[in-house]
């Protein structure tokens, strides 16, 4: 039944999709004065491709067909896939079409966002060539405890300020694997060689052998990896924070992918999701939980745009005990970037030698701790050579990219000491043992402070565990979910997708997530406590909805340490449609109610309404007036198309319509109808009348009709 309904809607949507390029319209003109570099206005997503979540393979084929696209990649473990769009269909168009038509088995549809590694600031601090590594050096087995002989150790101010030397008495990262989710790294570097497990090229799914140089043309991961885990006491170069931890390379930025709008070569959320789940849960031997999986993931990357595939993958790995460390970004601002915008992850900002925030370090509510992130000395790909032909081997650069691996290394040390700790406990331990800097207590500039390795490792017990909350947003009414043609006791409510779910405390936003198409939003690693829950949906921009289609609901939840709480929220549309007319004869308001056989057009005269009631009155201004009010029990998750019929008019009539939905009021008309004419809501241009695609010269009608939860 739902599918049948979708097909009926499909006709109406066709007009919307055919000519509409929703996000590139030439809007109201003004005197053009600014010019903005292309780089600042480029789309945040890959063109020609969307990501969807699906219930089963058959559904996936239908979903692809619904947008005329082809499945190009799928990830069964998340029931997510990538669909290539046909030429001429934009990403917003396709996402809108799927979310409106809701083909059976669709879990979500979203753009495939482009993300970037956090570009380090090249601060120009170069290493002196008298301390360049020897290419032939082989790593000595690291001495487990004690002072290290690495010649560049004295140049690592970050280790001094984090009090690393004493911390290594307690742990060095033995038996811990740190996943470096980044560009490719130079695994053959003398300070990194011999301490790697099999990694993955996330673009191709091919394995990367230990000690392989997969750095392509990029220095990023090599530098990041060395900070977290370069060998210690091997008489060579630097010491990593966790000198005996192992490294796993997950290459999510690939030279092959570098192109317009994707300067970093991001391989896409789907590939990243597959890769981090592989690295955290399976590993190179193909056997889950066999000891070659990553225990902590370092992510010195991010970008705008909430991606459900990425969110689901991160939930999966964090639920399985893996710590997801993410650099905050180098924008200097308090802002939301992803992944750090998701709940459950550990955001890291950058600090400097005098223990203040580095100017560029991004702030925000997901910031956990700060760590050294300016002029950080670390390993450098051996192919990059100086004027005299010798490799630099080690370089200083700056960025929150350099701060995150300090924390990743710290987590590795803690995992060695507390192998059974949860991600929340590990994060909390670093927070409570951090040296509080800048404003006392927590602040959005430096989090809980700059991490202190010795204080963290000296802890003899773990903090209490965190908690989790699942917010379920459902329609208030049941629809014909079993598709038998009737709405009856066997049917169920429907999860509402793409709704914003915000947890607040005392009015302050604590965490944000969106529901997937099952209507679920999961919040992991929450501090135990009470939260207000705000739910608002759907996304009127992405779905090209009327503003009144956005519903809001509020609730609250309390959750204690080690526990999980469900919050159930209900979306239930209130709708009243008022038609007024002047002129000779009668005009009828006709409502297309969804039913077992598709759209069923009903009017006051037909007396067959399933979901609403008609009333005839006279308006205060003397106009004739007809009102349709939706019943409390109604068919949810559907569009109620409308029509104005002048079938019974004797001469020209002038008609206006007012739609009151969920507290928002929108007016349409007046329309002048000739006797016998019928005007459908898909042609009510008013609210959309400026919605013109200049490239195609088309006037594009919006949905016009109410979308009902």
């Amino acid at each position: 039944m739902r599918r049948f309904f979708s097909m009926a809607l499909g006709l109406m949507l066709l007009g919307v999709l055919a000519g509409c390029s929703t996000f590139s319209l030439d809007l109201a003109k003004s005197d053009k004065q600014f010019s903005i570099p292309d780089s600042a206005t480029a789309s945040d997503w890959f063109e020609g491709e969307i990501l969807v979540g699906y219930d089963n393979e058959a559904a996936l084929a239908d979903i692809a067909a619904a947008v005329g696209g082809q499945v190009i990649d799928s990830l069964d473990s998340l029931q997510a896939a990538s669909i290539a769009l046909p030429a001429g269909v934009s990403v917003p168009e396709a996402v809108m079409q799927l979310n409106l038509s809701q083909p059976q088995g669709l879990r979500f549809a979203e753009p495939s966002y482009i993300r970037g590694y956090i570009a380090p600031s090249p601060d120009g601090f170069s290493i002196n060539d008298t301390i360049v590594a020897s290419e032939s050096a082989t790593p000595a087995p690291a001495q487990r405890r004690g002072s290290y002989n690495d010649p560049l150790r004295s140049k690592q101010w970050a280790l001094d300020i984090m009090d690393a030397d004493s911390a290594w008495q307690y742990a060095t990262g033995q038996g811990v694997i740190m996943g470096i989710v980044d560009t490719g790294m130079d695994g053959a570097h003398p300070d990194l060689r011999g301490k790697q497990v099999t990694g993955m090229d996330c673009l191709t799914g091919n394995m990367i052998a230990p000690d392989e140089d997969f750095s392509q043309t990029n220095i990023h991961a090599t530098h990041v990896a060395g900070i977290a885990g370069a060998w210690g006491n091997n008489g060579e170069g630097i010491v990593g924070v966790a000198p005996e931890a192992q490294l796993m390379s997950m290459v999510i930025f690939n030279d092959v992918m570098v192109g317009p709008g994707n300067g970093g070569g991001y391989v896409g959320d789907l590939n990243v999701a597959r890769c981090i789940m592989w690295g955290s849960l399976i590993g190179g031997d193909g056997i889950p939980n066999s000891g070659d999986e990553a225990d902590v993931l370092n992510n010195s990357w991010g970008g705008r745009g909430y991606g459900h595939v990425l969110k689901a993958a991160i939930d999966e790995v964090v639920s399985n005990g893996v710590v997801f460390v993410n650099s905050m970004g180098n924008s200097s601002h308090d802002e939301v970037l992803y992944p750090k915008g998701y709940p459950g992850i550990m955001g890291v900002g950058a600090t400097n030698p005098i223990d203040t925030k580095v100017g560029f370090s991004t702030m925000g509510h997901n910031l956990s701790v700060g760590a050294p992130g300016i002029d950080i000395l670390s390993t450098w790909p051996m192919w990059h050579r100086g004027p005299d032909g010798s490799p630099y081997a080690y370089q200083h650069i700056s960025g929150t990219s350099m701060a995150a691996p300090q924390v990743t290394g710290a987590i590795a040390l803690l995992i060695e000491k507390f192998p059974d700790a949860t991600p929340y406990q590990l994060q909390k331990l670093l927070e409570v043992t951090a040296d509080d800097i800048e404003a006392p207590g927590y602040d959005r500039r430096t989090g809980w402070g700059r991490i202190n390795l010795t204080r963290a490792l000296q802890a003899t017990s773990l903090p209490a565990d965190g908690s989790a909350v699942m917010v379920n947003v459902n329609t208030g009414n049941v629809a014909d979910t079993d598709g038998n043609g009737f709405v009856d006791a066997n049917d169920q409510t429907i999860g509402v997708p793409i709704t914003d779910v915000i947890l607040t405390q005392n009015g302050e936003v604590i965490q944000f997530a969106q529901t997937n198409a099952l209507g679920q939003a999961l919040f992991l690693n929450l501090n135990p406590g009470s939260y207000d829950v705000q739910v608002a949906g759907g996304d009127t921009i992405l779905h090209n909805f009327r503003s009144a289609n956005r519903l809001t609901e509020h609730s609250s939840v309390s959750v204690s340490s080690g526990n999980f709480a469900d919050v159930n929220m209900e979306f239930n549309t209130q709708l009243k449609i008022t038609m007024q007319w002047t002129g000779d004869g009668d005009v009828d308001l006709i409502v297309g109610e969804p039913s077992a056989i598709g759209i069923e057009w009903v009017s006051e005269k037909s007396s067959s309404s399933n979901w609403g009631a008609f009333a005839l009155t006279t308006a205060s201004n003397g106009s004739n007036q007809e009102i349709y009010t939706l019943d409390e029990d109604h068919y949810p998750f559907a569009i109620y198309p409308l029509a104005l019929s002048a079938e019974n008019a004797n001469g020209p009539v002038s008609v206006t319509v007012t739609v009151e939905q969920n507290g928002a009021i929108e007016s349409y008309g007046p329309y002048v109808l000739q006797p016998g004419e019928t005007l459908y809501s898909s042609e009510w241009y008013d609210w959309w009348e400026n919605f013109i695609d200049p490239a195609k010269g088309l006037t594009v009608p919006g949905p016009g009709a109410p979308w009902v939860y």
């Binding site: 109201a28 060539d129 705008r304 909430y306 924008s331 308090d334 607040t504 921009i541």
Partner: protein
């Protein structure tokens, strides 16, 4: 003519004027070293820095301390000098070869120590191939090697001027990833130098310790008669805060990125001119702080019609004057017309409403921002709204982003630019971020001669305002949560 006597004029900047009242005090000395110590080209003055000078042949030693404006003045015996600066918490700065055979003025950079616990010993610079008093025709082969206790940071070489960061002092040669230039050459034609000039090297180690070597050399060239350049125009640019461009996708392995990121700069003057007719070897700029007495500033090559003067002695609210001359061989043209600019004050723009973390915000919010200071006659602002979920900047879905002139508030869609689109009102109970992404003040929008730029995060270009090549971040980026109305 004595090479050294002629060239020392290059280093005299306004000495006579600013110090005339003090000369009696130091009458027992025949010469004087005047200077200003700043933390960067165009940067902040460093007060209370110890200044030590030593005559290279006489052994004459004197000391002084900079005042709050970073200035010092020392009476000395005529000689070539080395100058050393020291201050607690700061890196050292060493200048070698300053000519004080007659009163001279020099600007010296002294940086804050990156890490005060690290060595503050200045790098030791060894130059081969270019010795004092050498004459050259065509390209000059040289080699510079540096020894430093800290790893080396940057090594610059230039002719006729003190080299520094690329944006301010191009052209110059930079060696960013090595403590040696290797065997290199430098082309006098690129620098527009001829006759007596200087070969200068600046080296920074990673703690900010600086060594600056000045050698006087002679460039042999042909001579002839030439015409002056036309239409000189000076525009001062004041920046509200340090230039930061960490978001720019720079290739960290490229020299360009490393050089460009190097300095913070707050005030500079951009001088442009039209070329002289006929062949020239280059142009020479002269600057004055009183419009009467001009002193040589720099020389540039024949294809360069723009010079950026980061001069640390340029002051807010005080006119600075420029003239340009063309030269070929030993001949120099008449001076061009005078052009002048009076730099504007710096300012910042703070976001007012919606406030950071505000909730229940109207779906047609009124955005308000406030400059910290009223600067210039015209202020121009650009504001950006981000949807934190979709990642789209709503102002930039249109090719015509709103621009606000002398306006510090805007109700969402008050001009109807989003009417009839899904952006007509904001979504209810949705998280947004907003920021002032562009803020500039100009003295005269129709013919700007002084510009003060508080914010230009994304490299936005305005047709009337010089493009600032780097991003200046906005101070505030506020997150807010809309309500239902």
């Amino acid at each position: 003519m004595n090479v050294l006597a002629r060239v020392k004029i290059l280093l005299m900047v306004g000495v006579v004027l600013t110090l005339s009242g003090c000369t009696a005090l130091f009458a027992s000395f025949d010469s004087r070293i005047e200077g200003m110590v700043v933390n960067a080209a165009g940067g902040e003055a460093i007060g209370a820095s110890h200044v030590w000078v030593r005559g290279l042949s006489t052994g004459f030693i004197a000391t002084a301390k900079t005042n709050a404006r970073g200035e010092f003045s020392i009476g000395v015996e005529p000689d070539r000098y080395e100058i050393k600066l020291s201050k607690s918490g700061y890196a050292s700065s060493h200048v070698y070869g300053v000519d004080a055979n007659s009163p001279t003025h020099i600007n010296i950079i002294q940086r804050e120590a990156f890490n005060p616990r690290w060595s503050t010993k200045p790098p030791v610079v060894d130059i081969s191939g270019v010795s004092e008093g050498n004459s050259f025709q065509g390209e000059i082969p040289f080699r510079v090697d540096v020894e430093a206790e800290n790893p080396m940071n940057l090594l610059y070489v230039a002719l006729g001027k003190t080299p520094g960061s690329g944006f301010m002092t191009n052209p110059r040669q930079a060696y960013t990833e090595s403590d040696t230039s290797g065997d290199a050459t430098i082309d006098p034609g690129t620098y527009g130098v001829r006759g007596e000039t200087t070969f200068e090297v600046v080296a920074y180690d990673m703690n900010g310790n600086r060594t600056h070597i000045i050698r006087y050399i002679n460039i042999i060239s042909v001579s002839g008669l030439i015409l002056p350049p036309l239409d000189p125009k000076a525009i001062s640019v004041t920046l509200g805060k340090q230039i930061a461009f960490f978001e720019d996708p720079v290739d960290p392995t490229s020299n360009a990125g490393i050089e460009a990121a190097e300095l913070d700069t707050n005030l500079y003057v951009e001088v442009t001119w039209s070329p002289s007719s006929g062949d020239v070897d280059g142009y020479r700029l002269y600057r004055s702080l009183n419009g009467v007495t001009f002193t040589p500033l720099a020389s540039v090559g024949p294809t360069q019609l723009r010079y950026v003067d980061p001069g640390s002695d340029i002051q807010i609210g005080r006119n600075v004057y420029y003239r340009v001359a063309a030269f070929r061989g030993g001949d120099e043209s008449e001076w061009s017309e005078i052009t002048t600019t009076r730099p504007l004050e710096s300012f910042d723009v703070l976001s007012v409403s919606p406030t950071d973390s505000e909730s229940g915000v109207s779906r047609s919010p009124v955005f308000r921002w406030q400059p910290t200071k009223r600067v210039g006659r015209t202020q121009i602002y650009g504001v950006v709204l981000w949807d934190t979920v979709l990642g789209e900047s709503s102002f930039w879905i249109t090719p015509d982003p709103p621009e606000f002139t002398n306006q510090v508030s805007w109700r969402w869609n008050q001009d109807g630019r989003y009417s009839g689109t899904p952006w007509e009102v904001l979504q209810s109970e949705r998280l947004y971020e907003w920021q002032v992404a562009y803020a500039a003040a100009v003295d005269n929008i129709n013919d700007p001669r002084a510009v003060s730029i508080a914010v230009n995060r994304f490299g936005i270009a305005h047709p009337d305002i010089p493009v600032v090549p780097l991003g200046i971040a906005s101070t505030d980026n506020f997150t807010f949560l809309t309500g239902n109305n």
